[in-house]
């Protein structure tokens, strides 16, 4: 039975339905494995008792033949989703002790489908980071190590803990959120699949907001099929989120079938710029070959404003965040550091409650919105955003999907990039454009670099074309045949 945690989400689901094992057994196996993986620091909260109770309820439904799509499947949830009765921290000291009296729409959808909550995963504070190093609860650590090295590597971020949980087989699947690459980048660095859906596909209600116009929840899994399953359960219209879209949710699993004949794949030439490493370039070319070999037509396309995306993102996201994070003031929830008057209390609470990266972004955002600077920064960035979205629209007139690398390189050492925020920001260079344009994007594990670390390829689709995107991803996954897994150095 030691292999229960090795099952993919889909395999686990089918095994549960066949009663090969119970939800309690599967959940217990995950909890044991989580307990043995403390060096990875993937979880902020493990909800063991609750998980077993949920598993028992799932077993009861399974015996009654009433199982939902994900009945009994144990999942890890990024600690940015509010979970009723379970501590929710956003990786920040400022939400100290916060236990939401409500459940986020996306997680509620999953529990309705029968899934089991294992616990809440580590993340960059308020999802601001690309390495999970800004967490108040310490960095999550990648299960991967470079060949012959014992250096601790980042799992990517901000959904680092969820990536760890999936890659180290602590959970059958996990939830992440992606504002500038926070699902796809950690997926790429940990050899897992990460999907950011179209903006509006999944409800944002109950997810601690970072940048409202960019945030989107998505699945993190070990296979493309698993991502399709999770997305199907997560997605849907939510009347409580003004930006959630009222469109039917297709059967993404069914949509996985089918070849690529006639599919037009674009390779945006601007992604080659800025000294791409030969290793990444080779991987990208290999990915194009795999798709071509299955009948796709691959051509170069141009997204001319790509190089401005990161700069626009680092104005828009902090600006929205500076406003979204104003509610953390020590009055209604979380940390409170006293002061003589309300202003002093706010300053003390926020000064102590927020970490350095969050403060940095609040300051940038506040500055960019402040009198005299709004037009030069925020308004201009939003116009550039329009241009970036137009680039994609134009490209999608000639191709169906785009193929790019997910990241500029493999996982790096903890502490290697923390001294220079700009260097850290460059991690998102291939992923932010997708958020700015509100498009769906998926990272698929595509190979290992010379040191044995995973690399991913990204597919970008048209709005709400997740079904097509997943089908192409499934073919890419098959062609790549990625089967590497990290050595279990953490279980001594």
């Amino acid at each position: 039975m030691s292999a229960l945690t090795d099952l993919s989400l889909d395999e686990a689901r089918k095994g549960l339905a066949r009663k090969d094992f119970s939800a309690r057994e599967l959940t217990r196996a995950c909890l044991d494995r989580i307990a043995a993986a403390t060096p990875l620091n993937g979880f902020i909260t493990v909800a063991a008792e609750r998980a077993l109770a949920m598993a028992d309820a799932a077993d009861a439904r399974l015996s009654a033949g009433e199982g939902g799509l994900l009945e009994g499947v144990p999942l890890a949830v990024k600690d940015l989703f509010c979970t009723q009765g379970v501590l929710t921290t956003a990786g920040s000291h400022i939400l100290d002790g916060f236990v939401p009296p409500y459940e986020s729409t996306v997680t509620a959808n999953l529990w309705r489908a029968g899934a089991v909550l294992l616990g809440k995963t580590n993340l960059d504070e308020f999802a601001m980071g690309s390495s999970n190093e800004t967490s108040y609860y310490g960095p999550a650590v990648s299960p991967w190590r470079a060949a012959g090295s014992e250096e601790r590597l980042v799992p990517g971020g901000s959904s680092g803990g969820s990536a760890v949980a999936v890659a180290a087989r602590l959970a059958a699947g996990a939830l992440g959120t992606d504002t500038g690459g926070s699902i796809r980048q950690p997926a790429a660095l940990t050899g897992t699949v990460g999907l950011k859906p179209t903006y509006g596909r999944c409800s944002r209600w109950g997810i601690v907001a970072f940048a409202s116009s960019l945030d989107q929840a998505g699945p993190m899994t070990r296979t493309v099929t698993d991502a399709a399953l999770l997305l199907r359960a997560m997605a849907g219209h939510d009347p409580k989120d003004s930006t959630s879209v009222n469109r039917p949710v297709p059967d993404y699993v069914k949509a996985l079938d089918g070849g690529l004949k006639g599919l037009k794949v674009g390779l945006p030439k601007e992604y080659r710029a800025d000294g791409m490493s030969p290793e990444i370039e080779a991987l990208w070319a290999r990915g194009a070959d795999w798709l071509r070999a299955q009948g796709a037509e691959v051509r170069e396309v141009s997204l001319p404003r790509t190089r401005y995306a990161l700069a626009a993102y680092y104005i828009i996201a902090p600006a929205e965040a500076s406003s979204n994070l104003a509610r953390y003031d020590g009055v209604r929830f979380g940390l409170r550091v006293p002061g003589r008057d309300p202003t002093e209390m706010y300053e003390n609470t926020r000064g102590e409650g927020f970490g350095t990266e969050v403060k940095r972004r609040i300051l940038i955002g506040t500055y960019a919105l402040s009198a005299g600077y709004y037009d030069a920064y925020y308004a201009r960035a939003q116009k550039v955003r329009t241009l970036i979205a137009r680039d994609f629209e134009a490209a999608f007139e000639t191709v169906d999907v785009l193929l790019t690398p997910t990241t500029p390189g493999p996982a790096f050492g903890i502490g290697a990039k923390t001294n220079d925020p700009l260097t850290m920001y460059l991690n998102d260079v291939f992923t932010v454009t997708v958020n700015l344009a509100g498009l769906p994007g998926i990272s698929v594990p595509a190979g290992l670099d010379a040191s044995g670390l995973p690399l991913g390829l990204q597919l970008i689709g048209k709005p709400f074309a997740e079904d097509e995107l997943l089908r192409v991803a499934a073919r890419l996954e098959e062609a790549a045949g990625f089967s590497a897994r990290p050595q279990e150095w953490w279980t001594a």
């Binding site: 930006t243 879209v245 700069a311 020590g330 009055v331 209604r332 550039v384």
Partner: protein, 94 residues
């Protein structure tokens, strides 16, 4: 755009962030770096481009019905300090 330490302090005040003295100089340096890098957006001609405000089609609306409330206890439960059914703050002097 170079951000000096005074600007960092002013913006921190606006954002209600107490900074310790040692944070100010590095932040000024980092913010200057980031904003200098953002200057590249000036290379694009955006004079006839509308800003992208929101992604999506039309604004969702809700009926005028009372569906929430009566939750004073739950609303107050997470408060670091509450009294007599109220949230509290240090006394405000108008």
């Amino acid at each position: 755009m170079s951000v000096d330490e005074g600007t960092v302090r002013r913006v921190a005040k606006l954002a209600r962030l107490r900074l310790i003295e040692a944070e100010v100089a590095p932040l000024a340096r980092e913010l200057s770096g980031i904003l200098a890098w953002v200057e590249q957006l000036g290379e694009l001609d955006v004079s006839d481009v509308p800003p992208m405000t929101g992604v999506g089609a039309s604004l969702k609306r809700r009926a005028d019905q009372v569906t929430e409330g009566g939750l004073a206890e739950e609303v107050l439960r997470n408060a670091p300090h509450a009294e007599d059914g109220f949230f509290t703050v240090p006394k405000v002097v108008e």
